[in-house]
Every structure is written in C-alpha cells, then in structure tokens.
C-alpha cells in the first residue's frame, strides 16, 4: 500500500472527532446558541469543509451526548440543546495525547494567525472595533466563573481577527480557539491571574488603537507564545507524573 493512503485514512478517522470538538467548542464559546438551528447537513458540511458522511457521524455522536436534538417535519432540523461540559480528567487525557511536535506546530500556527490579525487590526480597526475589543476586556473582568472567563478570553482573540476585517483569519482563529481553547484555560490553573491577562489584552488594544502594527504584532506574538509555553510545560508535568 502506498504511504499516502495511510495518511488519508488517518486524517479521515480523526475528522469526525475534530468536527465534534469544533461544534462543541462553538457552543461553549457562545458562537452557536442554545435553541439555535444548525444549517442543513449539506450546507454545514460544506461550511466545515468535511464530507457529508463525516458530518453525519459527528452529529450522531452529538445527538447521543444530548448536545443537539433532531426534530422532524416542516420546521424540523437539528437544534442545539445544551452546552457540553468536558471533565478536567478528559482534558488532561487529551493533553497527554499531544506530541511535543504537535504542540509546537500549533504554536507556530497560532502565532502566525494572531500576529497577522493584530497587524491588520492595527491598520484597519475603527472606533466600533476598538469599542468591542474593550467590551471583551471588561467582560473578562466581569466573568463569574472559569467558563465565562475562558469564553471572554477566546472572544477577545477572535474579535482581533474580526477587527482585521478578514473572514479567513477570523475563521482560523475560531478554529484554533475551538481546538485549543479549553486546554489553554487548563494551563492557567485553578486561579488564573485575570488582571494580568487584562493588562496584556489592553496593551494589544492600545497598540491597535495607535495604528502601531509592529507593536501590536510583537505583543500578540508574545501573548500567544506565553500561553502555549504554559500548555507545553503542563504536558511535560503530566508525562512526568505518569512515570
């Protein structure tokens, strides 16, 4: 069998799991609302860039987990019913499953996306965008629990890509937050230093407001690298504990 066929099979097997996680994270981030109807299957599959059969498998799993329900009839379709909760245990298991190379690769990608978004936001954001970014920094401070904090943090990073006026960068940032968001939050530990996080976010927003692309890039890059280092070090500790 040629080597590439292994590659394709591996990717397809992983796809269902990643579609499930993507949709669950979109709900957890509040980008898909409870009660909201999902687009029809062919359209959703096209939007997510997966085969219809992969999506169908993923929806079946979400249905059994009680995350969506499917109603028949004229006003039928799949609806979001509840935000899924991942246990801390499951998150640690997932983190241990990452190789060092995978985490480094994620870091590279996240830095590239966050830096490009910050650079363009500094060029293109106007008063409306500045105000929304500030609102999300305030929301991080006002958040009542870890889940709300994580949501405000993720929404802040997504909003930078929105301020950059880029659909593709926004899409990439949503995907990265969906794939890594929960893990990143795990790395902050039981009592994340919210004021420190708000200060870093504010510094990025100030650079964006000042149209200082170079500074916005440097700050966004440093912010992402710091988060990913925490995650990497948490993984190393986990591996050590297993010994």
């Amino acid at each position: 069998m040629p080597a590439t066929s292994h590659l394709i099979r591996f990717k397809q097997e992983g796809k269902t799991e990643s579609v499930i996680r993507h949709l669950e994270e979109m709900i957890a981030l509040g980008l898909l609302a409870q009660g909201e109807q999902l687009p029809r299957e062919p359209i959703l599959a096209a939007r997510l860039g997966v085969a219809p059969v992969t999506l169908r498998d993923a929806l079946a799993v979400l249905r059994t987990r009680g995350v969506i329900e499917t109603r028949r009839g004229r006003s039928g379709g799949s609806f979001i019913c509840a935000a899924p909760q991942s246990s801390v245990q499951a998150l640690y298991t997932r983190l241990r499953g990452f190789s060092a190379l995978e985490l480094r690769d994620y870091t590279d990608e996240h830095v590239a996306i966050a830096a490009a978004a910050a650079e363009l936001a500094a060029q293109r954001a106007g008063p409306d965008e500045h105000e929304r970014l500030q609102m999300l920094i305030d929301a991080l401070g006002a958040a009542g629990d870890a889940r709300e904090q994580r949501q405000a943090d993720a929404r802040f990073h997504i909003e930078i890509a929105v301020a950059a006026q880029s659909v593709r960068l926004t899409h990439s940032e949503v995907r990265l937050q969906a794939e890594l968001g929960e893990l990143l939050w795990l790395a902050y530990g039981a009592e994340p230093d919210i004021p420190a996080m708000q200060r870093e976010h504010s510094a990025i927003v100030e650079a964006i407001k000042a149209n200082d692309s170079a500074l916005a890039v440097a700050l966004a890059r440093a912010h992402v690298i710091k988060e990913m280092r925490k995650l990497t070090s948490l993984r190393l500790e986990q591996i050590a504990q297993l010994e």
Binding site: L31, G77, H171
Partner: protein, 249 residues
C-alpha cells in the same frame, strides 16, 4: 474630462448604486409597514403584540431573501426590549442558504446566558435607534452567523412616534462588490467607494482593498463626492485620485 461630463459620470454612478440596492430598502419598507400594522392592531385590542403575531412577516422576509441580483443571507425584524408581551428581546429573522432553502433563526436572548446575542450594541441596531434614521453598516465580519463579510441594511420601525425596533437585511459584500466595481471602472482615475466610517466597500485600483480604512488625512489628497442612498440621509463617499486608474502602483 470637463467638469460637466465628470458630474454626469458621477450622477450615473450614484443612480446605478441606488438601483442595485433599491429593492433591499423597498423590502425593508414593506416589513416595517407590516410591523407598524401589527402594533396598531394590538394597541386597538388594548395590549401588546405576542410572538405568534409575527409569523405573518415570513412571506415578506422570504421575498427579500429571494432578490436575485444580490446574495442576501438573512432578513427580518429586530425588536426593542419590552415591545413584545411574551418576550424581552426578540429577533424574527429568516436565513437564506446557498441552496435557496430558508429557515428561521433562533437565538438566545437570556441576558444571563453564555450565548446571549446582544444586538442592542450592534451598530446596525444602535445607530438606527439613536438617530431614528436608516443605516447601512459594514462591511464587517459576521462571526455570530454567516462567517462572511456583511453589509447590513436597516430601517427604523415606529408605532406612532415610538421606536419599536429595526427591519434589517444582511447582504454579503462579495455579491455587492462586483456591482459597485462595474460603476467605479467607468471613472478614468483611481476611485474608491467608502462607507460613512471611511471603510472601503470597493475600489477600481489595487491601491485600496475592500475593508481598508481610509483616514481623513489620507483622503485629503483625493476629490470626494457624496452618494446619497435611496433619498435617505445615509451616505457613501466616492474618493477619486489624481492618477489614472490603469497606472501601475
């Protein structure tokens, strides 16, 4: 080119834009008149409208979604808090998919919930509420719905003098831009169409891209002309440069 020919060129450009977006505003006018009617009936009956009274708006929203020349992602009405008897905030909204299917959009308006969709702070709502005038907001990346680059058209709805919400439609800039560029390509010089915030909607030159923000000091080297939209006090601006548009930059 003479000033007169220049003015004629500009007038034609403005009129073509208004033809392109005219049926959006027409459709929104129908929705807002329908809503005013529902509110009046409820008032006559001595109460506030209920959610079920809004179902009759579907046909008008679907007609808007069916406009062929543009890709309209969603249309409907967005209500001011407290206007409906059995809900606080509410959107009666329909989404059109690329396969022409239409489905109602259900959103979360529980103010305490994670996914609370707070439209009260969105420019296409807040500007119309604050000015009482129609608004064309965007382009902006719509992260809550379509994940596309959207221009939102909205008009106020009133019950007598009281603001009760907006009728709105989301249009993808991707479908609007070719119509705008066709007009801009008839200008001999570099020309850029800006929204009221100075953001580029379309350009006939690679010097500017859709989504770029033109700051006042940058605009000062250009000749600016105002395009009134649909006889409303809503404006876009055409910015014309000194250099011919086919000169390489």
């Amino acid at each position: 080119m003479s000033d007169e020919a220049d003015r004629a060129e500009f007038a034609e450009f403005a009129s073509n834009i208004n033809v392109a977006i005219g049926n959006i505003f027409d459709g929104l006018g129908v929705l807002s008149a329908q809503v005013a009617c529902i509110w009046k009936q409820a008032r006559t009956a001595g109460g506030r409208p209920r959610l079920r009274d809004l179902g009759c708006l579907e046909a008008d929203a679907v007609r808007l979604l069916g406009i062929k020349s543009l890709r309209i992602h969603g249309a409907g009405v967005v209500l001011a808090p407290g206007e409906i008897a059995d809900a606080d905030m509410h959107i009666e909204w329909w989404c059109g998919e690329s396969d022409h299917s239409v489905h109602p959009l259900k959103l979360d308006f529980n103010r305490r919930s994670d996914s609370f969709y707070n439209y009260l702070t969105m420019p296409w709502y807040s500007r119309v509420r604050d000015t009482g005038k129609p608004c064309v907001a965007g382009p902006f990346v719509d992260v809550n719905g379509t994940e596309e680059y959207i221009v939102a058209f909205s008009v106020p709805m009133f019950d007598g003098d009281r603001f009760i919400g907006v009728a709105a439609a989301d249009v993808s800039l991707e479908s609007l831009e070719p119509l705008l560029v066709r007009g801009l390509m008839r200008f001999p010089n570099e020309a850029v169409l800006l929204n009221a915030d100075g953001r580029v909607l379309a350009a006939n030159t690679p010097s500017w891209m859709a989504g770029d923000l033109v700051r006042p000091r940058e605009a000062s080297n250009y000749r600016c002309g105002v395009v009134g939209l649909n006889a409303f006090p809503v404006y876009w601006t055409v910015m014309q440069g000194q250099s011919p548009r086919n000169s390489m930059v």
